[in-house]
Amino acid sequence: MDFVNAIILLLNYIFIPALTYGSQLALGAIFVTLIYGILRFANFATGDMMSFGTMMTILFTWYFQSLGVSLGILPTALLAIPFGVIFMIFYMLLIDKFVFQYYRNQKSPPVQFAMVSIGVMFVTQAVVRIIIGPGDRRFFDGEKFIIKAREFKEMTGLNEGLALKSTQVITIFVTIVLVSLLFWFLNRTKTGKSMKAYSDNEDLALLSGIDPKKIVLVTWVIAGILATIGGALYGLDKSFKPFTYFNNMLPIFAAAIVGGIGNPFGAFLGGYVIAFSEILLTYAYKKFFMYILPESMEPSSLVQLLSTDYKFAVSFSILVIVLIYRPSGIFKGKVL
């Protein structure tokens, strides 16, 4: 029985939260990687673009709530996401037209693109804060838990409860659907294949008659979908605050690079690598060992490898180590 308790404990505090957080990171990381692979620059506005998409989703959620429309036990935000996506794509295309297109035609070096994206970051941050303010906002409604900790205890008779939030299930489910659709698109359709070709070798792709304008357009559309859904899921699960989103850019970058930048599948897995290592290294295992070990060997300390304050530092250290020993990432992306 103790063994089952220990497993449930790990499931509840490590596995499910890490899977959720990892899914949110993975969506962002694929966004970064696509922009990097096809438009060829590191987008420092990633976090803020995600917060813009989330903001639009929140605005539509409020609008629907004021109309009295809801999805019953599901959060209203799910209904608002498609509208948020449309606005996000519109905003991205606008920025691309007025900002990035010029540098693309000039064939500027990636560093210049990165600098420009910092300008975009400032502007987006201002837009988000002016429209919705810098405060912390929760926009979740509907049923909060699928399984409550207490119900689970009563049901199974175990000491440890297993709480399953509906946002966690929604996040994981949506991520799986979205990512499988994305990979189907990239690997099976003609447009997807031409995107891959363009990312691989631009000149050859142009020679074989691929229209670069269409590629760029499709990339931004996919990026808009990923950014909005990733951001909205994070906001549903935790809460929406522009500054947090800006900070989330860093683990997202870490995930994209760890997975091998330019490689969407690597970025997908990279998100989980980062999330699991962050949570595994900062979890206090005292209770776990109390269940597993005989009473005489019970640990006196918390058995925590690193304090939770270093959560971010963990993912950055992983990134630094990967950069030194395997700069192309775990799953062979573009060689740096």
């Binding site: 990636p110 990165a114 502007v123 941050q125 002016i130 630094v320």
Partner: protein, 437 residues
């Protein structure tokens, strides 16, 4: 201008921060403008400079040293031993998988060992009067020394970072330095025994006199009287005159203190300007430009590109470290929680780009212009909003919402400014001058 519109006090504090920003910008400019190295870790070096200011100027906390000093020193020894062992392994054995794994094992076991040996010491130190101290304190030296020590700290970090990350391509270097600076901030925030963490260190020593002391000093009162003799002589009543004088002395003292800081900072800026100008036009500066513009060619000419990159990375970061120490000196307090990448990394980069990369005067100009706009953006945009919405009644929802969000217009201004400069004047306001003879 602000001096006339708002007050001399505000004008001077903006001016001081402009000077500090100028120093930071010069540091970043050396790396980016001279050598084309992108460093998004400015925040980390600034914070290290600030840490130096704390460690140098605060009086040592004797009790804390007695409680846990021994454990901390032991851990330091362990770190030194660990580094030596790793160096030994690196030198002695051929490169192989076993060597890599054994080094990893040494590092991990070393970290665990240090954690266990330092834990009681750290807890003991943090338990010493936690509301006031709870950390080891510093050396109790004058705070000016910290400007040099801050440079050393930042240079030391830059050496490690440079060794690790300089081989990376430009945009990866940017990301790596950004993340490393976040790690530095995380450590400063959470190692309470060293820095008091988010509990902040306040009341640091000053290189300038205190306002309260000035207000009771004779020569200062006489000075204020002399400056304002015209204004004072108008007032007939003696008691009124004394009251007015007192008011002026209080105002004057804070202006005087700020002027002292301005003087000190100006000296630093001028020294750095002379040094960097000399460096720029020396054979060394030409070599750096050659490396920046064509690495392969410079390499073929027998220049050690890797070594020079590392050197300039250290130099630039050290200058940023000085600025960090100056910042803490002027504020008189160290607040690790306030180090945010937006303010300390990206804003500095806006200064570099706007001012003109590769030009030291451009860097200073960028520091001044951008900092001034950053501070004054809110009043300016408030004025503009009021101007354009003058016809709309005060109760209008849109107008009140806009007025509430005035502080965020500075981000908009910075972003648009950066985008326009990048587009229409990619070399900055004062572009780099290259003499062709």
């Amino acid at each position: 201008m602000v001096g006339i519109f708002q007050s001399w006090n505000i004008a001077l504090s903006i001016f001081n921060l402009c000077l500090i920003s100028a120093v930071m910008t010069m540091g970043a400019n050396i790396q980016w403008g001279y050598a084309g190295l992108i460093n998004f870790g400015i925040m980390g070096y600034t914070a290290l400079g600030g840490l130096a200011a704390v460690l140098i100027s605060v009086d040592p906390v004797q009790e804390a040293w007695r409680a846990g000093g021994f454990d901390i020193l032991m851990s330091l020894w362990l770190i030194v031993v660990m580094v030596l062992v790793i160096r030994f392994v690196l030198k002695r054995f051929e490169k192989s998988k076993i060597r890599t794994y054994s080094i990893a094992a040494i590092i991990i076991s070393g970290i665990l060992l240090i954690r266990f040996s330092a834990e009681p010491g750290i807890e003991a130190i943090e338990a010493v009067d936690p509301a006031k101290t709870g950390f080891l304190g510093g050396f109790g030296l004058p705070i000016i020394f910290s400007w040099i020590v801050g440079a050393l700290f930042a240079g030391g970090l830059a050496f490690i970072v440079g060794k690790v990350a300089l081989g990376l391509r430009a945009d990866y270097l940017a990301i790596a330095t950004l993340l490393i600076s976040e790690i530095v901030i995380a450590i400063i925030k959470h190692e309470d025994w060293l820095t008091r963490g988010v509990k902040n260190v306040i009341g640091l020593k000053r290189p300038a006199p205190y306002e309260v002391d000035l207000q009771t000093t004779d020569w200062f009162i006489k000075l204020v009287e002399k400056f304002n003799s015209g204004k004072l002589s108008v007032i007939e009543n003696l008691a009124d005159r004394q009251a007015a004088l007192n008011q002026l002395v209080i105002e004057g003292s804070s202006v005087f203190v700020k002027l002292c800081y301005s003087g000190l900072f100006l000296v630093v800026v001028i020294i750095l300007l002379i040094l960097t100008q000399k460096a720029l036009y020396s054979p060394w500066g030409r070599m750096m430009r050659a490396i920046r513009d064509n690495e392969e060619a410079a390499n073929a000419m027998g220049k050690n590109v890797v070594k020079q990159h590392l050197l300039i990375f250290i130099l630039g970061s050290a200058i940023v470290g000085i600025a960090g120490a100056m910042l803490v000196t002027q504020d008189g307090l160290f607040t690790p929680g306030s180090y945010r990448p937006m303010r300390y990394t990206f804003l500095i980069w806006v200064m570099v780009i706007v001012g003109g990369s590769g030009n030291n005067f451009g860097a200073i100009l960028g520091g001044f212009v951008v900092w001034f706009l950053w501070i004054e953006a809110a009043p300016i945009s408030l004025f503009l909003i009021n101007f354009f919405t003058a016809g709309i009644p005060e109760t209008n929802a849109l107008k009140s919402h806009l007025i509430e969000s005035v502080p965020y217009f500075r981000f908009l201004l910075m972003g648009l400014g950066l985008l326009f400069i990048m587009r229409y004047r990619p070399k900055g306001i004062l572009p780099e001058k290259i003499e062709i003879k």
